[in-house]
Every structure is written in C-alpha cells, then in structure tokens.
Symmetry: D2
Subunit: 500 residues, 4 copies
C-alpha cells in the first residue's frame, strides 16, 4: 500500500549543481526527483523517509565514466582485482551512482557486439550502481566498424575508446581515422588514450638495456613529451575528419594540456579528461624503497608539482570537461594477477614494464576533489557528475536534479558540524583491492548518504553499504549532448575527402 506522497525528502541541505549553489529541499518519488522546494518547506512532508541534511551539501550522484572492471588480461598477466560487484560497491561508498565501464574487444576478436555481450554477462545482476559501457576497440575490423551503427542505434553504446599505445591495443593512425569516420557517421564519441606507444617501447628497451627495472622507471619510460606528441597527433586526426569530436583521456602533462587548450581556443571539438592521480600524486610516489612504488604505477604516470598546478588550472578554466577516476585496480601483494606478477628471481624488485598499469580510485574520487578546496563546488559537480552525464549521453536522467526528469541519484555530505576527521586507509574502502595510493591522506568530507534512484544505498553511519548488487541497471545511452556538439558536427556536414 502506497500512502506516502514522497518516497524520500531531503531537507535543510545546500544543494549544488553544475550551475547553482543554494539551500532548498528535494523530494523523490518513484525513483525520480519530483520536487524542488524552499529550504525546510518539506521537512514535514508526507514522505516515507526524510533525511535531514542539517546544512550539509547535497549533490547529484557522481558519474564516473572511466572505470575498468573485470577486464580480461589484455596487457599481460595481471587482471583486475575488482569485479563489477566489488567495483560498484566501492563506487557507491564514494558517492558515485553511475559508472561507465569498458567492453574490451581483443585484437583476436573481429566483433564489437560479441565483446559487448560478454561484458553484459559480467555486469548483469552484479552492480550496486547504474552502469553503461564504452566499447574498447582493439580491432577496428570492417565488421567492427559496421557494427557501430547497431551499437549506437540499438545497444545504447555511444562511445568508444581507442589506444595510441600498448602493443595489444595500439591502433595505427590510419586505423584511428577509420574509427573516427565511422564514429562521426553514427554520433559515437571517441575517447583516445594518447601516448606514443612506439616511443615508449623504445625507451623501455633502453632502460632495460641499462638494467633499470625498478618501478620508478615506469615514469622514465613515459616522459611528458610522449603524451604531448600523441595528443597533438590525435587532435590533427580529428581535425582531418572535419573536426570529429574526441576526448583525450587521463591528461597529465602541461604540454598536452596546452595543445588541447589551443584547439579549444580555435573552436575545435576537443574535450579532455583528467583524474585525481594527476592532482594528488607525483612521480616521487613511484620512487619508494623496494617495490612500493608499483602501487602508483599507472599510465600516464603522475608528474611533478608544477604539473599538478597546471591541471588544477585546467579544471578551473574549463580545459578539462570531466574528472574521472580511471579506476583500474590490481592487488599489490599478489604474484598471480596483481602488481607482483612482475617479480621473479631474476627481477627481485620487479620489472617495471610488466607491472600491471593502473590504480584503484572509484571510491576516493569525489571525497578527494570535493574537499580539496581548490575549485568552486559548482565546478566540482560539473566535472564529476553533470558533464560526464552530458558527454556520454546520460543527461538529464543522470548528473542533474531536475523534477520529473532526473533519477534521484543524490549524495548527502556531512555538514560542517559533523564533519568526520578522515584519514584514508584501505581498510575503510570497499573495493577488493589490497591498497589505495592515497593511504594516510586526510580528506575533509565524505558522502554521508548515497542515494540511487531514490533508494539509500550507502549510509555511512548506519550500516555503510546498504544497497544491493542486483539494484544497478544497465543504461542505454544516447548521443552526447555536451555543448551541443553533434549539432555543430551536423552543421559542418560529413567528411569529404574531395574538399581537402
């Protein structure tokens, strides 16, 4: 029997969206936001549950569109320490209500649909939060390219990721052009991992020839110029296909950032993502005694302090549209599938080139950036929730608090008076990974409640994870709506080689 007017009311909060910050109340019904009303006015509404935010911030749920879960071992022996179950559990505990993961197509597999189907199997019924998939295109076969239409039209998959590095995945420039051309035709958005793979392989060989195997040399094998060069190349390829929109993922380097900014300045549809590791870690974190540095081995590697400042500036001035986690976790103390697979008698402190690349971060993303005090909170919501939703075709269902329209995906943060004194330790996190690169770091706030489609799934003070792994839904996504980007593409018309 349903006698309540609202399923949930959040009262006395300071609501923050991508544009606004103000006190008002939010009511939820049938999984949707249904009412925004003056602050306190709904405190006594007829609701199944009323959460008193007590003056704390209330934000749309985090949308993390760069999360690797349960992927097969594409790059070597290591494989992900998180399943969809554990990864999404970690997500909601960190205020993230939607993730977009990857459906990886190995080189040996000509079909994207097949890769997608396999990924559905892994995620279905195993997700604490809502989820979608990007296709990770390892083999842009004729078949794969033709399947893009189906993916976009029928499967709700409107984005893909390609690599300019990693032997198992690296596409040549002509292959990238083929992908961009088909993506443009099908309003599919292309994410590019821009590091020059040939160069890094060469550098790796040089390092190994000098017996330099320690984790810290991971950074030497991928110097900034290698990222800046590939970024410039990716932008050139985009411009060649009549300015087809792309996103440079996990940008870490000021040189790459500047190149992206220049393209944006001249009106090209170049988007960029950065990640917490480029705001909070540096290359020094790879240079620890023994094998410890492996905990921070990801690609691109963290840079220096000055680079961090440039990345913060880029977030503030809009160069970066989104801040994702690039959650890509491997256990540290695991010689079977984790970081230590690269340790052997021959390489007692490991061999950097075989360290599985990636770090966990889906749970810490929001708390780190929300409480850093470096950005206006509206900007934080924009880059961690609203823009990802818009960019990946989830908006306005996700990333917003629009009555009758948006899913009731909401995070309630602690008010000043009840702020926890938090030091991050791995034991408080909910992934299945045996470490966090942020161990010992203080953060000023943390999600008190995470609400997914109107249901409290994380209640930090009363049970922690109270959601259910069968509750998360697959999200069919439409074309990107950020900045009206496909309208702009349509105005420019299709790529025409004869007009070059």
């Amino acid at each position: 029997m349903e006698s309540y007017k609202y399923d949930l009311v959040i009262t006395n909060g300071i609501c923050v969206t991508a544009s606004d910050i103000a006190s008002y109340d939010v009511a939820v019904k049938d999984e949707k936001v249904v009412l925004l009303a003056p602050s306190g006015s709904l405190a006594k509404a007829n609701a199944r549950r009323v959460i008193d935010a007590e003056g704390g911030y209330v934000t749309p749920g985090g949308v993390d569109c760069h999360v690797h879960l349960e992927e097969p071992a594409l790059f070597g022996r290591g494989s992900s320490s998180d399943t969809y179950e554990t990864g999404t559990r970690s997500a909601i505990a960190g205020g993230c209500t939607t993730i977009v993961g990857f459906a990886p197509q190995p080189k040996s597999e000509p079909s994207l649909l097949s890769a997608l189907a396999q990924t559905h199997v892994r995620a279905r019924g195993n997700s604490y939060c809502d989820y979608g998939f990007h296709l990770l295109v390892g083999n842009p076969s004729q078949q794969a390219l033709e399947e893009l239409e189906t993916l976009s039209r029928d499967e709700g998959v409107t984005s893909l990721k390609i690599y300019m590095t990693y032997t198992a995945l690296q596409l040549r420039d002509d292959q990238i052009l083929s992908v961009l051309l088909k993506a443009r035709q099908n309003k599919i958005f292309t994410m590019i991992h821009a590091e020059n793979g040939d160069v890094l392989n060469w550098l790796t060989d040089q390092l190994e020839a000098q017996k330099l195997f320690d984790p810290k040399y991971h950074s030497h094998s991928r110097p900034p110029i290698l990222e800046a060069e590939a970024t410039n190349r990716a932008i050139a390829l985009s411009s060649l296909i009549s300015n087809t929109p792309i996103l440079l993922v996990h940008v870490s380097d000021p040189g790459a950032t500047l190149r992206i900014r220049q393209a944006q300045t001249s009106g090209q549809p170049i988007y960029a993502e950065t990640c917490p590791q480029y705001l909070f870690l540096t290359r020094d974190d790879l240079d620890h005694p023994g094998f410890e540095g492996a905990k921070c081995v990801c690609s691109p590697p963290p840079r220096d302090k000055a680079s961090q400042e440039t990345i913060w500036t880029g977030l503030r001035n809009g160069t970066f549209a989104v801040l994702s986690s690039d959650h890509c976790p491997f256990n540290y103390d695991d010689a079977e599938k984790g970081k230590k697979t690269c340790i052997s008698d021959e390489f007692p402190v490991g061999r950097f080139k075989e360290i599985p690349n990636g770090i966990p971060g889906v749970e810490t993303r929001l708390p780190l950036v929300f409480s850093a005090g470096r950005l206006p909170l509206t900007k934080v919501v924009e880059v961690v929730s609203t823009n990802p939703a818009k960019l990946y075709g989830l908006y306005p269902r996700k990333g917003a608090l629009i009555p009758g329209v948006s899913d009731a995906d909401i995070v309630v943060w602690y008010p000043e008076s009840k702020k926890p004194n938090l030091t991050i330790t791995n034991s408080m996190l909910h992934h299945a990974t045996d470490y966090t690169p942020y161990e010992g770091r203080k953060v000023g706030n943390w999600p008190r409640y995470t609400i997914l489609r109107g249901k409290v799934v994380w209640d930090r003070d009363n049970g922690g994870v109270v959601g259910d792994k069968s509750y998360g839904q697959f999200l069919k996504r439409g074309p990107s709506t950020l900045d009206g980007l496909w309208e702009t593409v349509e105005e420019q018309g299709p790529f025409d080689v004869a007009s070059l």
Copy 2:
C-alpha cells in the same frame, strides 16, 4: 484575501538554465520562485494565474549589466536618448528584468558618493525593471578611492568602470593601478574600456588632416590593434596588482580575444564581455551613403565577418563570460543631442569624431542571440543572465530559478507552433530612440511574457508593456561570486610591492 497557494504557475514549458534544459513547471509565490515540479503537474494548481507555456522555452530574466541611461553629456554635445523610464521599458519588452547602469563621475567631481546620489535620483521610481549601478570613475581622487569601501559595504555598489580612452575619462596607467589596488581591497570588480586613447586621438587628427570626416572613418580611427594593445596593457596592470580581477568590456577584436584567452589559460582572473553589435554588425554598416553610417557608430566599432566568427567561438568556449548590450542610445535625426549634433555647414555629412558614440540594444539583445542558433541555449542563458548575475553580485537572487531563493524573474518564449515571423523595425521597440541598428533583420523568437518578481510586466499579445515604472527596485549588490573569484584573490593575499 489570499486564498491562492501560488501567485503564478508556468506550466508545460521547457525550462533553460545555465546548466540544464528540460521540461518542468515553475510556481511563484511572493515574488519568488517557490517550486519546481514535473512538467504539467502544476497545470491545475491553485494559482492566481497559470501561464501555459505550450512547449515554449522558459528562461530566467535577462540581466544586462552594461546599460547607459540618462547620463550627462560627458563626451561632447550628445546625450542619451533614453531615460531610466524609457530604457527600462525597452528592457522588459526584450526579456530583460535587471539592468546595471552607470553612475558617472565627471573629472570635475572628486566624490563617487555624490555621483551615486545623483544617479539614484534619476532612477528612483522610474524603472520598469530592477536595477543597480556601477560607478563610472572619471576621477580617481584620494576621496574617491577612499569612498570605495563605503560603496561596497554600505551602498551595494561592488563594481566600477574605468576608461583607457575618451579625453574626458581616460585614466593614466598609474591611476588605473590605484583604482585596482583599492578595488581589490574592497572586493570591487573593475570593468575596463580598453582602447588606446592617445593613439586614437592621433589617428583622428591624421584623418581630419586629410579631410576624411565621414562616419565610416570612425572605424579607421579605432583599428583593432588599438583595442588589442590596450587589452594587453590592462591585463598587465591586473597581473601587477597580484592578479586583481578585471573585465574587459565590449570586446570586438580577435587579437584582444586571443590575449584574454591566453591570460585565462594561465589562470589569471581576466574576464571578458562582448555585445550583439560584434556578432551581428560589421564595419561595412558604417559605410553607408551620407550620414546613415552614424547609426552604427559605437566604440569599439564593429569589425569584419571573420572577427564575428571569432567572437562566436569565444562565447562558445567560455572566453566571454557575459554578453551585454552596451545600450548607449542617441537619436539619429537629432541635431541637438543626437547623432546629428556633429553636422554643420562645414561638415554637411558630419564629422566622425563628434558623432556621439553608442547604439541602442537593450531590447534586442536576448531575441537576437537566443534565436541565432549559434549557441546551445544553456550557454545563451549563462551569458545573458546567470553569469552577469554572478559576476556582479546579484546571484542567486537573479539569474536563476531556485525555489525559495530566486526572484521570479522569468521569460516565456513562443513555442515553435506560435513563433512570430518577426522582422525588427524600430516602431516595434520601446526605447525612446528613433532608430535601431538592426532594422529589417529577422529574428526567430521573442519574449512572449516577461515576468519580474512574479508579476507579468510584458505580455506581447495582450497589452505589450503591462508593467509599471514604479515597480523596479534598486538592487544592493554583494561581491562577485563567479568562479569563486574573490576566494581565489584571498588565497593569493594582498598586493605587496616588496615581493615584486
């Protein structure tokens, strides 16, 4: 007797804010937005009045922070053709519910408070829309600088404008530094008119020496480099005072735009405004037979087609935070106070250097840009309403639709099915000026209703201007909240000459 739950409901509209575009209903009570609810859900609410938006767009009221009204003849014989009454009447008919005008301090007047008091007299009781004032600082006397604290703290005046041109107003660079220093200390935001006055005087003399007096030579006297140079200088001065925030007003030139962009790229607090005249007019509009070109004489002058494209790109990519009208009207066919004051027996087609500078535009600003189809509508709302409100300390009372917080300043546009087939003619406008530079131009939409603090003041199909000139209120403004700019300033600390 008050038996209505709401004073006004707007139902079935597509609401557009700076971040969101979606269908939902808006309820108003006691001059405020009080409820946002699912689309159609309030159609039958207990409201004094229900406006059915019929699928048309619903936006926050326009905020035009660059409007010259009833200013004394600072620059020569011409004086404004619009009073506060006629100017604000024009504003509401064009969807603009808030203006910020100027309180001009002549060089002969050492006090700013005195200038402010005189301006209050002109506006009080004579405004159809809400209004605030910037101080136009013509004489940065010691007294004036000391009054800034009072202006900011007590008078609700948190911005000022200074000039790098016009003999009557031009400040030297050292005077600008004094202004910036005091402005920084008092969280007052500084608008700068950046054209090199010494250079334009010299060019004017050169043109006159060659008997080149036609209106079109106004453009020759103010070439783009003169704006780019002054813009670079203004940015240098800002950076010298520990990066004190400034706004470059009415930017027209790609060179200036690029310089601004570079400063933003490196994280400096440099903001910029542009105006419809730089999107819709070109220098060719000054080159008409006889004296006609004088109708488009404003400063900086409109540039060329390529420059227009750069300005559109700058709006799209965020280089320009705001789009204002720079409404500065003079009658054309008026030899006493209008454009034709510069016509004499000696100068039968006028003398460009004496043409009163400025064009009307407060009424056409929103319709022109809203219906141009060049920007996402969220971006339009951002630059014509939300950002101006934030930048000038009016937010969230203005520029937003936040329940319990925002004034119910709302524009309802025509739905597709009822879109008027509009050709702009001066006769349809509501200013007291005898021409519009946009005569004959088609626009695709126009405000159907303009609502100010819950009251319909413009009902295009039923009475037109239905508001009242006594209804507009003076707005005490706080410090700018855009981008958390003063927080950033505080982090950097006060200017310290010893640390240079």
Copy 3:
C-alpha cells in the same frame, strides 16, 4: 710551364657572400681563392685568364644538398630521368658547383656501406660538379646503425635522410629514435621527410574509393596538417634524444613552419629547408586539364599563395637555414619510367598515387631565387650556398670566398646592362628531363660563368657547358659547423634515458 701568378682573376664584380656585399676583385690559383683585393686592382694582374665582371654580381658557387640522381625505383615503377652526368651538367649551367645526392639503402639491404659503394660507382667519373652523398636510410638494421661510425669517420658521409612516409621507406617512431641516437653519437646530421605516411595512405584510399584519380588529388591526399603533424612529431623525437639536431626537409606548410619556429625560439637545434617549388608553384599548378598537372606532382605538394608568403617570410627571418632544389626528375611523356607510368586503360588520365613524385629543379634554383627580388642578396647566398656548406660539413672549402681556404667555386652573373631577357623553357636547360615546371616563367638574371675549382665550366655566351664530366670530385665531408651545433650538443652530453 707555369709563369702566371694567378690562374684566374675576376675583376670589377660586386661580390656577395652570406654577410657582405661589396666590390672587390678575386684571384684564383691552384683551384683555390687566393686573394681578395680592391675592386679593379687586379684587372691587369698576371693571370692566365681575367674575367671582367663588368659590375655584375659575383657569388660563391651554389651548394645544393638535396638532389636525387640515378636512384633505383624505390617508390614504384618510375625512375630518375637524370643520371649523375646529366644532373650535374644541369647543375653547373644553373650556377651550382656542389651537390649532395643520396645513396639509397632499400629495405631489403641491411648495409649502408653497400648502398654507398653502389652510389659511388654511379657517380664516379660522371659528375660535372663536386659531389657528396647523404645516406638514405631505408632499413635501420643493427648493422646499418653500427656502420654510421665508419661512414662518419672514414667515408666522409656525415648526414643521412629518413622518411616518415612512403611505404617502402617509412620508419616507425622507435626506429627514428634509434637512428637519432646513433647519429648523435657519431656527429651525423639527420634530415627528415616529415609527412604522416599512414594518414596519407588512408586518404589515398578514400580518394580512390570515390574514383578520384586525377593528378590534382595528389594534393588532397597530402593536406598541410599531415606535414605539420609529422613535423611536430619529428621535433618531439629530437627533443627526446637530448635535443639531437635535425633538419626538416622541403617544408611547405605554414603550420609546420610555425612549429619549427617555436622550437628554434626555445633554443632547440631544429633546422629547416625549403625549396623553390614552395615559393613559385601552388596547388593550382596540379589542377590542369588532362594529365598536365602531373608535371608539378612532388611531395609535399605546392600549397597556396598565402603559404608562399609564409615561406618567404621564413627565409627572411632565418627559420629556413637552407634552400635546396629537391631535384627529383622524371620524364613527363614517358610511360616506362616517367610520370605516365601511371596511365593505363583503366586510368586514362593516370592514377595520382602512382605518379612518380618529384620535379626537376637543380638548374633553375639559383636564377629563380636570385632574381626574385624578395630577399637581400646576402641572404640568398646564405641559404643557397654558405649555410648548406656549413650544415653539411663542406665549409669553408665550399660556400665561401676565403683566400687560401675556399675552393674557387664562383658564379659570375650578368651586370645590369647586359641582363638577358630570359623566359625559362625546357629547351634551354641541361637536364635529361622532358619538361620543367617553370616553363614560361621570366627570370631576371642567370649565371654568366660558373667556375669550379678555378675552372670555367659554364660560359653561357661562349659554348655553354664547357666543363667535363670527369672533373667533379667526391667530397669527404666533416661534421656540420653551422651555428656551432655539435659544440652545443657536446655541452649537453649524451642521451641518458635514466635522466628523463
């Protein structure tokens, strides 16, 4: 019996070197310049021959370091229409006394020394001018890389050329790094043909898929961005190997030029070459009826008028260190080995992708640029003679007029009063190619005499080519001396991957 004090005297000329322009006399003895003396002072010297320059310009002989002769058909069916004999005959008739040709190493050949030996055979005894070789590295095998030391130390080959395009020659980025590393260690200077080969192959396929086969589509297959991208990449690779010096050959595009300029601005050892075809031809020259456009098919293709201006500016301001011909001739009306090899029943106006790439130009280079009036003559001498000699280790033997030091390689031009009224026609040229792309173009001056090591080898008014194909000598070259570039490299020390 040798009773003459001088073998040759040139009197009454205006001598032009890279730095100086002034009237003085030059005396020659035993193949060397031996005396510089006041103008006219040697008119009656005891000399075997006295040439009265009659007020005409006297310049060092041209040094053309980018000449393809008698190369095997590496890129398809076409092969060079000029042998060493005919190419060098053409050179001296155009005022060029030294060429550096290419010793091409095919992919199938692991050894560079072998390629060099074969090239020696072709040139020896068959050259009208002095000559050296660059190694054209098609296969950077371990053996090849190890041979670089011998080449530099023993064989007088201190430069090599590599390709980022052409399937038969294209190196991957890691291969380029290997080459740069070894080149740095052996003070070998690296020339890079920077066009993105993968991209152009893709564009070519796209064009062919649309049945676009005409010669003009050669230009569409190689748009400017493809050159700018590869240029950026080459510079990145150079910077990675501790700023190893490179030369970008035949630069045509403003975007590439700007990138080069930026590198030079920041002090990187990046050098650039351009060619007459980028100063005097445009892409319109490829768009002629039928197959005619094939006459101007070279890579990169000529660009537009605005690009020409940028290239002239780049020559003037020092962005381009050298101006070479890139003489790479194929007969036009030749279906066996020339441009028409790509014509068939299926492709009656040819198939652009199979048109042999290249145009003749070794003879017209000096006259075109010397008489264009676009550059100071000292700058002309610098880029056509002195800088090439310095850059490729031929200086001061070549490229200068230093007594006791420089070979007496001298060009005497016509004085104003005797200037020929010249229209270029192929019949007046001395190559073995059946056309010139400059047919019908007027030039203002032409070498009257060309003198090689003291011997007149070209006397335009008395016999034309009067030299001998056995007179040209192979030039063992040392390391580059331009700008003290290797000193700078030595200061920076060897590449150290551990310091990245």
Copy 4:
C-alpha cells in the same frame, strides 16, 4: 717618403667575420683593408709594420651603438663620469673602434639641430675612436620633426632614440606615432626604451610609502611585466604606422623577448638589442649590504638566472640583432654627480629612485662575450660589430674586413698559448669611473691590439693606450642596410591612415 707596399700586415691570425672563420692574412694601406691573402703569405710582405697574430683571433673592431657620454643631467643630479675623451679611451682598450653616442634634446629645447651642434662640440677632437650620434628626442616638437630630414640628408644622423619612461623624456603614445611617421619618411631608424614610465612611478611611490629606499628596490620598481608591456605597445605602434622599423634597446626580460620574437616570426621589422648586464648580472647584484647595490643600478635592472639563459638563446637564434654596452657611467663614491647623490641624512643608504641609472661597460663588452664560450665566434662578431654597423648605416666601412672598402678597424686577440689570466678589476680599465660592476670576474681573453683605420691605438703589452684623442673621426651615417629593411619599407609604401 712612402716606400712600403702596406702600412700594416696582420699575419698568422684566425680571422672571424659575421659569416666566416678561417686563417688568412690581412694587409692595410691608407687606413683601409686592402688585401686578404692566404695565411702566412704576407708574413714577409713589404709592410711598415707586421703583426704576427700567432694563431690568435682577428676580428673587425667593435661597434658599440649605445654609449652615453658627457650627457647633461637629464634625469636628476647625477651626470656622466665619462667624457668623450675618457669614454672612447676606454672603448679602444676594450677593442671597440666605433661608438655611436647620443645627442640629447631636453624637453625645453625645441630643436634637434641645436642639440646636435652642442654634442659635436663635446666630441670633436676628444675621441680616441670614430664616432657618430643618435638624436635622443626629448621633445618631438613640430620643429624637431621637420629637422629630421636635414639630420638624415645632411648631417649623417640616421637614427634616434625615444623613451617610454623617465619623466623628463617620456613620450606619450601619440607623440611616438608622430616620431615614427616622420622617421619612416626620412629613413631614420628609431630606438625605443620600452618601460612603462607611469607604472614605474606608481610602484616607486608605493615602495617609498613603505619606507623601502634601498638600492635593491630599484628592481622592484621595474618588474619584468613593465618592460614586456611597453615592448608590446611599441610593437603595436610600429605596426600601426605600416610596420615602421624599430629597435627595442637593452632588452632584459623573457616576456619582452618572446613578444619581439613573435613579431619577427610574422615578418614585422622589429629589431632588438641586449647588453652584457643581462647576460652576466642578476637582480641579486643589487642586493648587497649598504649602498653597494647601487653599482648595478641600471634600467631595466638585471633579472634572474633563467632570464639570462633566455637572453643567450635569443642572441643565438637571432632574436637580438645587436649586443651593445649601454655604457652610462656614474661614479659610485661621488656625492656631487655620482651614485651617492641620493644619499643624505634622511636617506643614509640612499634612495633608489634618485640613484643615477646606468653602469659603465664600453670596455668590458667584447672581452666578456667573446670569451664566454656561449656563442659561435661568428655570431659574436655579428652582434658586436657587423650588425651594429649595418643597422646604423656604417657598413661596409665599419663592421667588416672588405678589401678596398672597409676601414682597417681590427682587433687582434691573444692566442691560446699567450692568453692572459685575467681577472677584471677597475684599476685595469680606462674609463674615468671609480668602479666596474664586473669587478673580480674572470675573462678568458682580451684585445691584444686594437687598430683603428690602420693605426695601432691599443697595444696591451706595450704601452696600453697608444692612440690619440684627436684621431677619432665623426662618422656621417647613411640609412640602415641590415636585412634590406628600407627596401622592404619602400615596397610597403607610405603610411596611409585611410587604408586602416
């Protein structure tokens, strides 16, 4: 009786010009270079004097075109410690054979010719080296502007200097335009001292208001941005007058350098000068105990280490055409006319704003830069001798070694084997100033002989200064010939305000 074939022969030297470095002999007759011959070939020539260079370098005499001597006290109480006699004595002892000094026109003096006449009186018969004058335009009166034609046509004065700073001299932007316009018409080259005077006055007041008077605050009063801003403005003014050539003098700041470089990149005729103080001193040299820092007070002030590197790079890549001394000496321990005039009871360690600005350096310029090992020697000769001669219309009489053409102005340096072990001390210098800012600095070489028009005027090991103060001649200069700059100006035609 004249029985010698040559007045002087220099044998066994390594001659360095702007383009060439090689061993050859030089013969001199009647004040001119008359013969260049193979090395050693003139060792036994019939010469009045034979100097055996013993393998040392032989260079053209230094040309220092920025030397202040015996100027009246334009900027305050201080006045130059060097007269023409002592300054030019110092010049020849440092290898400088030509200076161009300034004829200062005070604001109170409408005529330039008058200022010139007075300067002639000071210099005539009192100069050890040859000399010319720039007009220092303090008052661009109508009369002054009209006199430019006479100056250029009759008086051999083809350059002028103007100031954007110093209250006594600062021109407004419109005045600068008037000067540039007339300079263009008369082929007069304009030097600009680019610092923003209004800003520096303001900063000075701020510093004084905080009781910061020490010499080191001179640097705080003139931060880099102030130079970069004025540089940008000067370039804008030049571009406005149809790209009229200018030289930015004494550039010290990387920001200014970059702006200059950008203008050069786009083909504008913007030239730049730097000085040894920006290569060898830093702002730390102003921060010494007590008043010592005053010894390094010059404008712009020396910057930091990183700036020095940028200036070196700018010399190497051609951004700076010339390296001058800006010799502007004041005695240190002199309370009447020297640095200590600013010391008083009230200001016991002085008052930075009253410290006479300038340092001595005409004697140390060549030794410092020649022996620094940072530039190829050809580049050194180019910037200290050949380019100054070309830029200021002295070439080829000065700045070169052309037989029959160039004055025999020659410096012979010590060979490796005889290199003195030199530590600079003021006692070894020949100016009349009581200190050198380079006290204690080691230099690797020094002029052994300085020869002016064939006469040895400095013989370090035998008498030191052996020249005569009556030997120096006034040099009538023609238009600049560097880079064919006036030809380019002529192509562009006169300034036309109607074409803006």
